[in-house]
């Protein structure tokens, strides 16, 4: 995979030096091997810290909302999942496409740092990645063991870009992404309530899931309202953040591309994607299959209707 990084670096340096772009949005090395973070590079020299490896799970598309408001053009590297978010943002007129140069990059799945920790790896001293395996500190893992949840169901489809950098064949997903949603749907209401109460009671309302979400780009969020009645009050019941979670998921319903960022960043490991996928599944079933971000022009399912739509009373569970 080292090769990919080299090709990307070359591309970035060329575009920077030719003046075609003034900045590069990519991923930057951290201190500990696994703590790679999104970064804007403004010179060939700063690109010394540029990386592209198995730790680059972060979606870069949302940064473009602010970045494309600035002077000059920016080069961005987009993984398949990032590109869906990118398209969705174009569709919603949140990104100025004229100010971006998009390069699609191959992705074979990224590592979930939490899963590494579960396997006893606190610091990454060395790693080596192949298409199906990753060796970290000399310990060999199959991708399936430590990959992000979103990657195990990802089609790894490369959309339209200005350019694409890809070496290996894409792999098909090894799992059905609705598996767990279906399982929950087949439970009784009480079981589902118990499941969600248990999960959501872990929420510390750090708002990371909201902040990272490429579909959440409102300038002022309804949850930052001091008059909400809950601001600076401690929970008195462990399920009290459900309002936040229902509204967060509803707000992105029909726009969520299933990029999996919310679940990736949650410090409490709450499976937020299961809320998003419930909406995605329902939309597919009730209004026809729809993939947000697949194109930049079609109408979203919640900004559209047909006269024959079912009534809410006819929609039942699964």
């Amino acid at each position: 995979m080292q090769k990919l990084e080299t090709l990307m670096l070359e591309k970035a340096k060329n575009l920077l030096s030719s003046g075609e772009v003034s900045r590069v949005l990519g991923w930057k090395k951290g201190e500990l091997g696994y703590d790679v973070e999104p970064s804007v590079f403004t010179s060939a020299q700063s690109l010394d810290n540029f990386v592209y490896n198995v730790f680059c799970g972060a979606n870069l598309s949302k940064y473009l909302v602010q970045e494309t408001k600035k002077e000059g053009k920016i080069l961005v590297f987009l993984k398949p999942c990032d590109s869906y978010s990118f398209n969705q943002l174009i569709k919603e007129h949140r990104i100025n496409k004229d100010k971006v140069y998009t390069v699609g990059v191959e992705c074979q799945g990224k590592i979930d740092n939490y899963k590494l920790k579960e396997n006893g790896i606190e610091v990454v001293e060395s790693f080596d990645e192949e298409v199906d395996f990753v060796t970290v500190n000399g310990k060999k893992f199959t991708k399936g063991e430590i990959v992000l949840g979103k990657c195990s169901v990802c089609e790894k489809k490369l959309l339209d870009y200005d350019e694409v950098i890809s070496i290996n064949e894409k792999r098909s997903p090894d799992k059905d992404r609705f598996e767990m949603v279906k399982k929950l749907e087949s439970m009784t209401a009480d079981e589902r309530y118990a499941f969600w109460k248990d999960q959501l009671s872990n929420c510390i309302r750090c708002n990371a899931c909201r902040n990272v979400c490429p579909a959440c780009t409102c300038t002022k969020c309804v949850f930052d309202n001091d008059n909400s009645g809950i601001a600076s009050k401690a929970n008195s019941d462990s399920f009290e953040e459900k309002m936040f979670h229902i509204i967060r998921a509803f707000h992105v319903a029909g726009r969520c591309t299933d990029c999996g960022e919310c679940s990736r960043v949650c410090p409490q490991h709450i499976p937020l994607h299961l809320l998003n996928r419930k909406f995605i599944g329902d939309i597919n079933r009730l209004y026809g299959t729809y993939q947000a971000g697949e194109d930049t022009t079609s109408k979203g399912p919640l900004t559209d209707y047909t006269k024959q739509d079912v009534d809410p009373s006819d929609v039942f569970g699964g």
């Binding site: 009645g229 006269k307 039942f316």
Partner: protein, 146 residues
């Protein structure tokens, strides 16, 4: 405190569209058709004005049931508002169900200005359903109740 809670009657919030169901409620009243006093009507300009947040907020603050009444599909004063509302509510109610919230606590009904009798029937039925279900515990938020 305990005593008062025990005797608590169910509280129902009905979001009624100004152009149809709200007038339907009026007609029910002037035709002397009764509907439960536990139903608190909130007038909205169109069924699609109802933000999912309104519904959750009502539950947080102690509603035991929430019903949204709008013009019949095809008859919306703004032509298409209720079509959008229909999709939103279908998805929202399905999500509530997914979280294990009792299905029957939420409902959408299409009631025209001429349907005073339907309004009263719908509200009576809904109120008795909510009575059966009892107090809403799963969606309340003690921080929002005073």
């Amino acid at each position: 405190m305990q005593e008062i809670n025990k005797e608590k009657k169910p509280l129902i919030v009905a979001f009624c569209c100004n152009w149809c169901s709200y007038a339907g409620a009026d007609l029910a009243g002037s035709s002397r058709l009764s509907y439960p006093a536990d139903v608190k009507i909130i007038r909205v300009p169109c069924s699609c004005r109802v933000n999912p947040m309104f519904i959750l907020k009502a539950f947080q603050r102690g509603a035991d049931g929430v019903i949204i009444c709008g013009c019949h599909p095809g008859d919306c004063h703004y032509t298409t508002g209720n079509y959008y509302a229909r999709r939103r509510m279908s998805l929202l109610f399905s999500m509530l169900d997914y979280l294990g919230i009792e299905r029957e606590r939420t409902r959408v009904e299409w009631v025209s200005a001429a349907e005073g009798a339907k309004f009263s029937k719908v509200m009576n039925e809904f109120a008795s359903k909510i009575n059966e279900l009892g107090e809403n515990k799963r969606l309340e938020d003690l921080r929002c109740k005073n």
